[in-house]
Subunit: 77 residues, 2 copies
């Protein structure tokens, strides 16, 4: 089975990478870019039968820093 984990910075946490992307887009002439936030996408290829609780534990222990990041799990069987 496949799982996708989306890791994003919590609201209020400064995102210099996102700001750099925003300024670069403006520099390239793209208007109307109000905000950019950069996050991570982690694609996991897991043994069938891996439980959601296991994936949740992976996020808590390694994939996300839950002090400053949120995560969302999408499983694709």
């Amino acid at each position: 089975m496949k799982a996708r984990v989306f890791v994003t910075l919590k609201a209020g946490v400064l995102d210099p990478q996102g700001k750099a992307i925003q300024h670069a887009l403006e520099g390239l002439g793209f208007g109307g870019v109000n905000d950019v936030r950069a996050g991570k996408l982690i694609e996991l290829d897991l043994a069938d039968g891996t439980s959601n609780a296991d994936i949740e534990a992976m996020c808590q222990k390694l994939l996300a820093n839950t002090v400053i990041e949120n995560y969302r799990i999408d499983t694709v069987s």
Copy 2:
């Protein structure tokens, strides 16, 4: 409007970051992790009426390196 851009490495491109995550998960005792690929998630807050072609151009010019990366655009109005 909001748009999410998912940037992933093309198949066949080595992904040392993904491999590091895979080994770390194994080291933490998570079994059955066959493969991990790391990608980027870029959340854009755009002016209403920004066309899909504009977002596509942003990906082509800045957000993705199309030699080694694929991208997918999700728009949320």
